[in-house]
Structure formats: C-alpha cells, structure tokens
Amino acid sequence: MKFFSGWSLIRTYTLLVYIWMFTPIVAVVLLSFNPQQFGSFPMEGFSLKWYIRLAHNATILGAFKNSLVLGSLTAILVTAIGIPAALAFVRYDFPGKETLNTLLLAPIMIPEVVLGVALLLFIRWLQQPKSFALLLIGHVVLTLPYVLLVVQARLVGIKREYEEAALSLGANPFQTFREITLPLLAPAVFAGMLFAFTISFDDVTATLFWATARNQTVPVKIFGMLRNSISPEINALGAVMIVLTVSLPLVAGYVLRKFARGAGK
C-alpha cells in the first residue's frame, strides 16, 4: 500500500536520476553510428563507418588482445588465490580473523594512484623493468578484494552438511570435493572470475602507471586517443566496450541458471 502522499514525486525523482545516469551512455552508443567527422550532435544518418575503421586499426586490435589476455590471466590467478581465502573466512574460526579480512579488503580503500606508484616504485627498487608481469600482479592486487567480497557472499549459502553427508555415506575426501564441493562452488568461482575480468579489463588509473607502450590495454589506449579530441572512433570503441562488459555478466548469469537447473535434476 502506498499511503505516502509524495510517492509520485519520489518516483519521478528516481526516474530523473536514471535518465541523468544513462543519457551520456546512450549518447556514446548513438554517436558511434554518426557518419559525421566529429563525434557530436546532430546525427546525420546511420553508418557503421567508424566500426569498420576500428576493425582495421592494428594498434587498437593489439590493445584489445592485451586486455583480453590480461583480464583472463588476472581472473584465473585471482580466483586461484581468492577462493581458498574466502573459504578460510567463511568456514573457519581463527585468531585475528577480522583484522585479516579488513587487511585483504584494504586495497578498495587505498587510492589507485597510490597503489600504482607503490608497486612501480618497488619494482624500480628491485631494478626490474616495467613488464606484462607487473601489470598482471598489479591487477591481481586490484581485483582481489572485490573477488573476496563476491565469493564470500556466495559461499555463505553452501552448507557444510552436504559434504558431511557425502563423507558419512562412504565417499573419500577427494570424491567429496569433486562430486559435492566443486559443483556447489562453481557459481562462486565463476562470479569471481567474471568480476575480476571486468575490473581488470576496465582499469585505467593504476594501469597508466604500469603499462608500457608495448602492452597498452584498451582503456589506456582510449586515454591516449583522448589527448587529441573525442572522435567518433572513440565512441565506437566505447560502444564495443559497453556491449562487451555489460553482456558478459548477463550471458554468464543466463548460462549459470541453465547450469544450475541442469545440476538440480
């Protein structure tokens, strides 16, 4: 029941906030189809010109490849170290638990600029050059807290009783892990990887410190292109990024639901 007299005002206000939030994003997608030379209004038709030009731009394609490889490796590495940590926090009691949890979540609260400087300074002191490895370990640190939060939230829902039942029915620990724990864990692993991939794929600030001319990622490349001015090509690239990073979780969510239904039979 809505007895609040200002309810329609609240609804309108919320709608306006949504419009404010999404108009710029819609504009990027819309303008990417504008054949006009400058990425601006008015729309003068509909053309795929900028997408075609994008597909022929070797440096952007190279950046895309870098971003994909970096995002995927980050996702694999960070879930490999993050899932055990999340299990430790959800399943066990040990001294200093709260403090350690806060420590592992701390990178969220530390400005990315500082993380960028810190790791770069450390690497410099070790007399190592900037490399792909630096980007990779940097992205692992950046994404770890988010993966921990997401995975812990999922793990809380998995009851220990299932594993205990399997063990008491005669399965050995390895069988229990393979048949019970792993399938139950799969959605959490998947969510963690997806999150890590997106954060790594989108990161700019810290990556600007760590990237070299040879291993630029897409956002770093866009940052460089912006120096000149906003071109329709940037809008097209932006539209591709939006579609990619937004559709990924939606598709993944759909696949997961199918997967879960299949497992539930």
Partner: protein, 286 residues
C-alpha cells in the same frame, strides 16, 4: 564454524603473501622513499629528511590542491546524498515488478568502463554536445555555452561514478529496517512524514554514513574525471602525483604527496572505524 589450527592459514597464505608483498611492502616503501633526496641524475639518494614535505607546504600552490581535493570530495558527497537517498528509498518501498530490473540497472554502471563513462559527458556538455545542440535548436542561445573543462563537469563525472555506491549503501541499510516499525508509528498517530523522520531516517543513517565515507575516500583518490573533464585549474591531488612521478620523474616528492594523501585518508578512515565501524561499507559491495 570449524576450529583448526593450520588449515585456514594454509588457505589464506597465497592471498596474504600477495597482499603483503604487492601492497603492504610497496606502500611502506612509498613512505620510506618520501624522506629520500632526489638526485638530479642517476638514482635517488637514501636519506632521512623532511625536505619533500617542506617543499609541499612551502607555498600555497600544493596545499591548495589538497584543499581543492577535499572540497570537491565534500561536494561530491553532498550531491550523492541529495541524488541518492530518494532512489534508495524508492527501492525500499516500491512493490513494482520492475524492482529487480531497476536494481540491475543501478549496478550496470559498475560494469561499464570508467573511462567511457567519464568521456561520455563530453558528448553531453561539449560545445557540440547534446545540451548545447538542443538549446541552439530551440533558439534559446546563439552560441554554445562553455560547460566543459570546469569543476561542474568534473562533478558530473564523479557523480556518475560514485552515485551507485551511495544508493546501494543506503538501500542495504533501509532494507534491514523492519517495515512494521513505520506501520506501528503511523497506527499510533504519526503522519507518513513524521514516521519517516522519526523512524526510517534515523535507522538508515549507518548506510548513509558508510556511503558518505566510501564516496569521500574514492573521490580523494580520483584521477580521471579532473584529467578528462576538468580544465587546468581543476587538478586534484592524484593528478599532481601522476605529474610528479610519470611527468618529471621526481620519485621522492611524488612519494611525499602520496604519503600525505594516504595519511589524510588513513586518519579519516581510522576515526570513522573507531566511532562507527567500517564493516557496513563492505556489506553493500556484495
């Protein structure tokens, strides 16, 4: 909950090692480096002196960047509150079937690249952007209004980045309020507005304060919006750090500025945690 002496530590060790070597030590290193001397050529000289800090506070230029950063962060917090509380309240009270969809939409920006979201405002505020285009078409103005490369444009970028954090923090707090409390208040004679003011609003304050802290901290470290949407006079502290480290390669001075920034945020977060507890913030991020 199981008690085991070694298992949790074995599970935690990879993450702890990574955070220790890739975050804790490097950040300590920044602090140590801020006392070093810059060598005009070659490598920097280990030392323990406060010259870099003295340089920062020597004239008004550097502290003014710090003050601007804090001012912009406070403005962002205030605007996020004004823009975020009502939508969060809408989510709490709505019985619309569209609620899940609307919630996904509010989280959608998290999935969209920060740089794209930032530069997208150029299409709106620029000389040939949406607003100027519409105003000129309507005959309200003759030549485009300069709306880009000023503090307002920076705030637009910051708000779009941070508003979802604020909305989610407030919503998590509101969602934990038992709705029968407001019903009790109204059945005892409160008006809707009084029930909101006396019951709902006070109970939502933990989320409000958590959202404010998160927005403040994230704004203080922000680099992109001032860089892309701001003019020469809108640089914030992160832009200064970037310029000193990547631009002029002044590592000791850059480290000193970084130390001042984390020191400031550290004091704020510590004080907050002491009186209000920090864990509320992480609730909304799940």
């Amino acid at each position: 909950m199981k008690k085991s002496s070694w298992k949790p530590w074995a599970l935690l060790s990879p993450s702890l090692t990574a955070v220790f070597f890739l975050m804790v030590i490097p950040v300590c290193f920044v602090v140590v480096y801020s006392f070093w001397l810059r060598a005009p050529t070659g490598s920097d000289i280990p030392a323990f002196q406060f010259g870099n800090y003295a340089k920062f506070f020597a004239d008004f230029f550097y502290p003014s960047l710090l003050i601007r950063t804090i001012r912009v962060a406070l403005e962002t917090v205030a605007l996020c509150l004004v823009m975020g509380y009502i939508p969060a309240y809408f989510f709490y009270r709505t019985e619309s079937k569209l609620k899940p969809l609307l919630m996904i939409l509010i989280m959608l920006p998290f999935w969209i690249s920060f740089i794209i979201r930032t530069l997208s405002w150029i299409n709106i505020l620029g000389d040939s952007g949406l607003i100027n285009h519409v105003l000129i078409k309507l005959g309200i103005i003759a030549s485009p209004l300069p709306m880009l490369y000023n503090e307002a444009a920076v705030l637009m970028g910051l708000l779009q980045y941070l508003l979802p954090f604020m909305i989610l923090n407030i919503y998590v707090s509101l969602d934990g309020i038992d709705k029968s409390l407001t019903e009790a208040a109204t059945s005892l004679g409160c008006t809707e507005w009084q029930a909101f003011k006396e019951v709902t609003l006070p109970l939502s304050l933990p989320g409000v304060s958590a959202g404010c802290l998160l927005v403040f901290v994230l704004t203080c470290g922000t680099y992109l919006p001032p860089m892309i949407l701001g003019g020469p006079g809108n640089d914030m502290i992160a832009n200064l750090i970037f310029k000193r480290i990547i631009g002029t390669l002044d590592w000791p001075f850059g480290s000193a500025i970084s130390t001042i920034l984390i020191g400031l945020l550290g004091v704020i977060v510590y004080t907050y945690n002491r009186y209000l507890g920090i864990n509320q913030i992480f609730k909304s991020l799940k």
